[in-house]
C-alpha cells in the first residue's frame, strides 16, 4: 500500500493519478461506525456503483467523498489531490441528489446556470452552455419553467444537467432514481449511461437496486454494516460473490445450511454436495457450519443432459409455480436434504409444458454453481 501512496503524491490534476483513491476512510456517529475502513480506487472515466441495503453506510461514504461529512480516520484523494480540509464547494464534483434538491425559486435554466455563476464562468459563455446542456438532457424549450412545472422525469433531467454543466471531474449520484416507477427508472438508467459515456465523466452511483448496479456499472462495491464486502466488475461480483451477504443481496435464489466437508463440499443430512468456495477468506472450515448459495437459474430441471463431473442430481417435489412472463419460477422441496426448499427457474417456459404443484421432478447442478461460505458470516434470511 505504501508504494501507492507515494505514487499518488503530487500536484492536483496529475494525469496518472486515479480519479478516486480512498484509504481507510471511516466515519463514526456516536459509538457506531457508519463507514469502517473503506479503501478503494476508481480509475478515470469509470462508472462505479456502491451497492448496499439502507444503513449499510453507502450514503455516508458518498457524503465523505462529496465533502458533506468529514472522515474520522483515513484519507481521500481525488485526481491525486488530498481532500483533507477541502470543503464541498471547492471539490471538482457535481452531484445529483436523492430528492433532486432543485432550487424552487429558479427556473430550469436558472438552476443549470447556477453552478456556472458560482464557479465564475465567463458570463457571456453561460447562456450557450446552458442551452447545450438543456439539449443534452432533451429539455430544449423548457428552460424557463420552474421545477414544480416539470414532470418527475424532467426534474431528474434538470438535476443531471445542473450536476454536469460545469464539466466536473467526478459525478456523484445519491439514489436519484429510487423514487421513480419502474418504466421511468429504466429509461433514466439508460439516460445516465448515455450521458456518462458521451461526456466520459467518472461517476459514483449509490443504490440499493442490484439490477441498476449491474446495468450501469464498470465497477461495483457491495457494502453492509459500514464495511466494503466486495469490489469488482459487475460480472465477477455476480458470478463469484465473495461473501454470503453479497450472495443474498444479489438475489441468489437458495441458501442451504449444513456442515462443511473437505473437497470442498457441504453435508446436508446424509447427502454430501460438492461445491466451490469463491473466496478463501470466507471459505468454511471442515467440520464447521457452512452455508451454500445456489443461483436459481443454474439449477437444471429434468433428467435430460449428462451430469457434470461431481455434479449433484436430486429428486424434488414442486411446491409452487410462479409465472413471471419471460420465465417461470419453481419453489421446490427436496426430501433428501431434509425437506429443504430450493428455487429453480425455467428460462424458456414457452417451449414446453409447465410442471404442476405436487409434480415429482429431478434437478441437477454443477459443483461450480454451489458456492460455499463460512456460516458464521451469513446474516440470515432476514437480510
Amino acid at each position: 500500500m505504501a508504494s501507492t501512496v507515494v505514487a499518488a503524491r503530487g500536484r492536483a490534476g496529475e494525469t496518472s493519478a486515479p480519479a478516486v483513491e480512498a484509504q481507510g476512510l471511516a466515519r463514526r456517529y456516536g459509538t457506531v461506525w457508519a463507514v469502517h475502513d473503506a479503501s478503494f480506487r476508481l480509475e478515470r472515466g469509470q462508472f462505479l456503483t456502491i451497492l448496499g441495503p439502507s444503513g449499510s453506510g453507502k450514503s455516508t461514504l458518498l457524503k465523505l467523498i462529496a465533502g458533506f461529512e468529514r472522515p474520522d480516520r483515513g484519507q481521500l484523494r481525488l485526481f491525486g489531490a488530498n481532500m483533507d480540509g477541502v470543503p464541498a464547494h471547492r471539490r471538482p464534483i457535481g452531484m445529483v441528489f436523492q430528492r433532486l434538491a432543485l432550487f424552487p425559486h429558479m427556473t430550469a435554466a436558472g438552476n443549470i446556470a447556477f453552478p456556472l455563476e458560482m464557479r465564475r464562468f465567463d458570463p457571456r459563455e453561460i447562456p450557450a452552455r446552458v442551452a447545450r446542456f438543456l439539449k443534452l438532457v432533451r429539455l430544449e424549450g423548457l428552460g424557463d419553467r420552474r421545477p414544480h412545472e416539470l414532470s418527475g422525469g424532467q426534474q431528474q433531467r434538470v438535476a443531471i444537467a445542473r450536476a454536469l454543466v460545469f464539466e466536473p471531474e467526478l459525478l456523484l449520484l445519491d439514489e436519484p432514481l429510487a423514487s421513480l416507477d419502474v418504466r421511468l427508472k429504466e429509461e433514466m438508467q439508460l439516460e445516465f449511461r448515455r450521458i456518462q459515456r458521451e461526456l466520459g465523466v467518472t461517476t459514483i452511483n449509490v443504490t440499493h437496486d442490484q439490477r441498476e448496479a449491474l446495468v450501469l456499472s464498470d465497477r461495483v462495491i457491495v457494502m453492509a454494516r459500514g464495511r466494503i464486502l466486495q469490489e469488482g466488475d459487475p460480472e465477477t461480483v455476480w458470478r463469484n460473490p465473495a461473501h454470503p451477504f453479497v450472495a443474498r443481496f444479489l438475489g441468489v435464489g437458495t441458501m442451504l445450511r449444513g456442515q462443511a466437508e473437505p473437497g470442498p463440499a457441504i453435508r446436508i443430512g446424509d447427502r454430501l454436495l460438492p461445491g466451490r468456495a469463491p473466496n478463501p477468506l470466507t471459505a468454511p472450515r471442515p467440520g464447521q457450519p457452512a452455508v451454500a448459495a445456489l443461483r436459481a437459474e443454474r439449477v437444471r430441471i429434468g433428467t435430460t443432459g449428462a451430469l457434470t463431473e461431481n455434479g449433484t442430481r436430486l429428486a424434488a417435489r414442486v411446491a409452487d409455480v410462479v409465472f413471471e412472463g419471460e420465465r417461470v419460477l419453481y419453489e421446490l422441496v427436496v426430501p433428501e436434504l431434509g425437506e429443504a426448499q430450493l428455487r429453480a427457474v425455467d428460462l424458456d417456459p414457452g417451449s414446453h409444458a409447465r410442471h404442476r404443484p405436487g409434480a415429482e421432478i429431478t434437478v441437477s447442478w454443477s459443483p461450480d454453481d454451489l458456492l460455499l461460505f463460512d456460516a458464521s458470516l451469513d446474516p440470515g434470511s432476514d437480510s
Partner: protein
C-alpha cells in the same frame, strides 16, 4: 355560517354605523352618507395619530425582519444549550400579560429617557411580538429540504452565497408572512403604546380611545372601518403569500 356572522358582526356594525348621515353613532344608521369619512380626512389629530402608528409599525417590522429571520434559522438549524430557554421565550406572548411587559418597558424606557417618543414604541412592539416573526420563519425553515444547501455547495457556492442565494429565497414566504404579522400587530398595538407615549405622540388606537372617553361621534366608526379594511388587506396579501409558499414547493 352563524359563526361567520358572529365573527364578522363587530366589523359589520361599525362599518354600518360609520355610514350614518346623523350626528351620533347608532346601528342601524340614520340614513347613508360618507360625510364622516370626509370628516376624518380633515381631523388632524386622527391623521397624525395614524402616521405615528404607521411609523411604529415600520420601525417594528424593520427590526423584526433581520433579527427574527436569523434567530429562526439559527433555532431550526443548530442544537444548542439555550434551546429550552428559547422555547420558553417563544411562549411569552401567550403567558405574560401585556400590561406586565408594558410596565416593564415603561420603567426601562423611562430610565433611558425615551418615553414620549414614537420610535421606541416600535422597538417595544418588536420586543414583545418577535416570537410571532420567529414562528413564521421557523415554519418555512423546517419545511426546507436540507439537501438544498448541500446542492448549492455542490454547485460551488460558499456558505455566504448559499445563504443569500438559496436559503433566504427559499424561506422568503415565511419572512414576508412574519413581516406582515409584525406590521399589523404593531399598527394595532394599544396597551404598550398607551404606557409609552404622552399626549403629543399618541398612536391611532390610543387617540381613538381618548376620543371615545369624550363624545362618541361617527368619525370614530369611520376610522375603525378604515382600520378593519387595512387589516383585511394585510390578511389577503398574507393569504396570497401562503398560497405562493405552496406554489414554490418543488413537488
Amino acid at each position: 355560517m352563524a359563526l361567520l356572522v358572529l365573527l364578522a358582526a363587530p366589523s359589520l356594525v361599525v362599518a354600518g354605523a360609520s355610514l350614518t348621515a346623523g350626528e351620533i353613532v347608532r346601528f342601524p344608521p340614520d340614513g347613508l352618507s360618507l360625510r364622516w369619512y370626509s370628516r376624518i380626512l380633515d381631523a388632524s389629530e386622527l391623521r397624525d395619530a395614524l402616521l405615528r402608528s404607521l411609523e411604529v409599525a415600520f420601525v417594528c417590522t424593520a427590526l423584526a425582519v433581520p433579527s427574527g429571520t436569523l434567530a429562526a434559522i439559527a433555532l431550526a438549524r443548530f442544537r444548542f444549550r439555550a434551546a429550552l430557554a428559547i422555547q420558553l421565550y417563544l411562549l411569552l406572548p401567550f403567558t405574560v400579560p401585556l400590561i406586565g411587559s408594558g410596565i416593564g418597558l415603561m420603567l426601562l424606557f423611562g430610565e433611558l429617557g425615551l418615553l414620549g417618543r414614537v420610535w421606541p414604541v416600535g422597538v417595544a412592539c418588536c420586543v414583545i411580538n418577535l416570537p410571532f416573526m420567529i414562528w413564521a420563519v421557523a415554519a418555512s425553515v423546517n419545511a426546507l429540504d436540507p439537501e438544498l444547501e448541500r446542492a448549492a455547495a455542490s454547485c460551488g457556492a460558499g456558505p455566504v452565497q448559499t445563504f443569500v442565494l438559496v436559503t433566504l429565497p427559499a424561506v422568503a414566504p415565511g419572512i414576508v408572512a412574519g413581516a406582515l404579522i409584525m406590521f399589523v400587530l404593531a399598527l394595532n398595538e394599544f396597551l404598550v403604546s398607551l404606557l409609552l407615549v404622552d399626549a403629543r405622540t399618541v398612536t391611532l388606537p390610543v387617540q381613538m380611545y381618548t376620543q371615545i372617553r369624550g363624545v362618541i361621534t361617527p368619525d370614530l366608526a369611520a376610522v375603525s372601518t378604515v382600520y378593519v379594511l387595512v387589516a383585511a388587506a394585510a390578511v389577503l396579501v398574507l393569504d396570497r403569500l401562503v398560497g405562493l409558499d405552496l406554489f414554490l414547493r418543488a413537488r
